[in-house]
């Protein structure tokens, strides 16, 4: 997708926050703290980060499976929270999802036909023939034989199940697909099949993808823009090439450096990063990454960094990098509203 295309983004998330109340604890789990990004129609936006940083929570918020604690989600320019009745149903149809575990995402007691038909029947009243035709078509799109319709999920392999899941997600001809680690439960040899399929479908239907993953190589391969999350916050965001090519946040750098290359000649990247991701129950103050950061300064321990743009589309939230950038005349620190990130510049 050429980033220059001027259009309202299909999905726009602002200041999204989600806290979970948990038993045995007074503090909530701050699964998502501050999340803002925009996804232009037809592009793929990826969210990466370590386990527990809030990626899945973000997906659930966007899918409307959990109500956000704060912030807004705009779909096609309209605030999702304000939608009601027919509008809400229209929005519902346009956002579908594929989840990580192909075993958990298909009801074992339903036939594939029923699974794929479910979204259709929940929203429309097609005739039997029409329904059959559409099921057959969907199965064809995801590369399953027509007779798959009559079979049960347990008769399929993981890859095939994931195809069924994709068929179901496509049934309502949505505009946005949320892909929560769609391949991480699959075998290496199967992953490529599914990724290629997803890519074909996107091209064919002009779909927009929100991809959640922790395989950085996959993200680089697949996404147009990427957001890096750390403990509920987005710490860096920008076009994939820029973020991967010139990472600004020390966490992004550490993450990229930690990726083991399938090449015995590349040495093991030791000493990039210390310790482990903190607890979402009691995140560190200031910059949440500071306890692990090799270049942390005092400000990191007390103040929360604000996003600093490094190019029109690329920003990172880091005191050190921001200080480094203030030397440059181009990067005027964006004015920050009370406690919220400034909206990054959008295409």
């Amino acid at each position: 997708m050429p980033p220059e295309t001027p259009a309202t983004p299909l999905l726009e998330v602002q200041g999204l926050q989600k806290h979970f109340k948990v038993r045995h604890s007074r503090n909530p789990v701050k699964a998502v703290e501050q999340l803002s990004f925009a996804v232009p129609a037809g592009s793929t936006f990826a969210i990466v980060g370590e386990s527990g940083c809030g990626k899945t929570t973000c997906a659930k918020l966007i899918l409307g499976l959990e109500p956000p604690s704060a912030g807004s989600i705009r779909f096609d320019g309209r605030d999702v929270a304000s939608l009601a009745g027919a509008d809400r149903r229209t929005w519902r149809r346009q956002v579908q999802a594929v989840f990580q575990d192909p075993y958990a995402s298909l009801n074992p007691r339903l036939r594939v036909a029923t699974i794929v038909a479910e979204p259709i029947l929940a929203n429309e009243k097609p005739t039997r023939a029409e329904l059959d035709r559409r099921i057959a078509e969907l199965l064809d799109v995801v590369g399953l034989p027509a007779d798959a319709a009559r079979r049960y999920p347990h008769e399929f392999s993981g890859g095939q199940r994931q195809r069924v899941a994709i068929a179901r997600a496509l049934a309502l001809r949505p505009r946005l697909l949320v892909l929560d680690e769609p391949t991480s439960a699959l075998d290496v040899s199967i992953r490529a099949q599914i990724l290629n399929l997803l890519s074909d479908i996107q091209q064919q239907y002009g779909l927009t993808y929100l991809l959640i993953a922790h395989d950085l190589a996959l993200v680089e391969h697949f996404a147009d823009a990427v957001g890096v999350m750390y403990l509920g916050d987005m710490v860096e965001q920008g076009p994939t090439a820029q973020v991967f090519g010139a990472p600004r946040h020390p966490y992004t750098r550490a993450l990229l450096a930690s990726v083991l290359r399938p090449d015995p000649d590349v040495p093991l990247p030791v000493g990039m990063i210390r310790g482990e991701i903190g607890s979402a129950l009691a995140p560190p103050p200031g910059c949440k990454f500071h306890p692990r950061c090799p270049q942390a300064i005092d400000a990191c321990r007390s103040d929360k960094p604000v996003p600093t743009p490094f190019s029109p589309l690329h920003w990172a939230a880091c005191h050190v990098e921001a200080a480094r950038a203030t030397g440059a005349p181009t990067a005027a620190a964006p004015a920050a509203g009370a406690g919220t990130h400034l909206e990054p510049a959008l295409p």
Binding site: D187, V188, I190, H214, H221, S258, L260, R261, P264
Partner: protein, 337 residues
């Protein structure tokens, strides 16, 4: 390429024609079906392959901890330091081999530690059973020592803590500590990093490498992550449907894969910094181990399949020193011994 002088060293572990069967309701799963492996001292052998290809079963066969009921070693030999473990009785396995000469780090650090016993109890345990510590206090001291070796900060303070008070990476270190407690000769590491985040994974691999340098332990590294295998192993064995289809020095496997499966595998993974329009994918599914095909097991998915492939399983051909391939494409190369 610089093949390691493996042949010169007497192998620490020598597996020949290992057959491991698991009886299930519908028949017998040939989980491991004629596997040959060698590991020398101070060497790491990576076993890679698809899920279900028999990697874990190979590892468990060495420990003789197959699933009960149903699992058994149906044939072959597993020689460790010259002793064929297949013939060693269970009592002796428990007393003199497991934990003492062979031990294991398993996949999930969250579940590999007993949640209701303290770390000290669990790490100190092996010293007691194997007679390396005469008293509780001695076992404690030994536990502190070994925890220090896996770089748990101030181990003496953490000895009475319980697993849930440790983070995932720390727990995996504790597991490693338990595994190396009695200075085993062979360490079986079954996906020791796959439950860890990338940033922790690096630390864990580094730790294992250091341990190996210090103790000279031979490591059987089971993984499906080609990146992990590349950064950790000296040699690689690629398994497919219960068999080793290719094995050899790590550089040869990555730079000159000889088996179509290995080639396809390497081609199908996205690589950082090498964006491609499309990934190469392998079609189809691996065969069932309940009733594996007679010929080459990859034949059905193989782009270079020949008539012979489906009829007859290829023997191992040695394409270069220590690089063996079970594929008819390499028929010209000499048979491996």
């Amino acid at each position: 390429m610089d093949p390691l002088p493996t042949a010169a060293k007497p192998p620490l572990l020598r597996i020949r024609n290992l057959q491991t069967h698991i009886a299930v309701r519908d028949g017998t799963v040939r989980a491991v079906d004629g596997v040959n492996l060698d590991i020398a001292e101070r060497e790491t052998l990576g076993v890679v392959g698809e899920s279900g290809s028999g990697k874990t079963m190979t590892g468990l066969s060495i420990l003789k901890l197959l699933p009960r009921p149903g699992g058994r070693i149906a044939g072959g030999s597993i020689e460790l330091d010259g002793t064929d473990l297949v013939g060693v009785p269970e009592r002796e396995m428990a007393r003199h081999w497991r934990g003492r000469r062979i031990s294991m780090v398993s996949q999930d650090p969250l579940t590999s530690l007993n949640p209701v016993y303290s770390i000290g109890d669990q790490v100190g345990g092996p010293f007691r059973y194997h007679g390396l510590a005469a008293s509780r206090a001695e076992a404690r001291r030994a536990a502190i020592d070994v925890l220090g070796r896996v770089r748990i900060p101030s181990p003496e303070k953490r000895l009475d803590d319980y697993p849930h008070q440790f983070s995932g990476g720390m727990r995996q270190r504790v597991v490693a500590a338990m595994a190396i407690a009695c200075q085993p000769r062979l360490l079986i590491a079954d996906e020791p990093t796959s439950a860890l985040d990338v940033t922790i994974q690096v630390q864990m691999i580094d730790l294992l490498r250091r341990i190996q340098q210090d103790t000279g332990v031979g490591i059987l590294m089971i993984t499906h992550d080609m990146g992990v295998a590349a950064s950790m192993c000296d040699r690689i064995a690629v398994m497919y449907a219960g068999r080793v289809v290719e094995s050899g020095p790590v550089r040869r496997i990555y730079h000159a894969p000889a088996h179509p499966y290995t080639q396809a595998l390497l081609a199908s993974i996205p690589r950082l910094g090498q964006a491609r329009e499309r990934l190469d994918s392998i079609g189809g599914q691996p065969p069932s181990l309940l009733d594996p095909p007679r010929g080459c097991r990859f034949a059905a998915r193989c782009p270079q399949r020949m008539a012979r492939c489906e009829a007859e399983y290829p023997p191992e051909f040695e394409t270069a020193s220590g690089h063996r391939v079970a594929c008819w494409l390499h028929e010209g190369a000499p048979h491996a011994t």
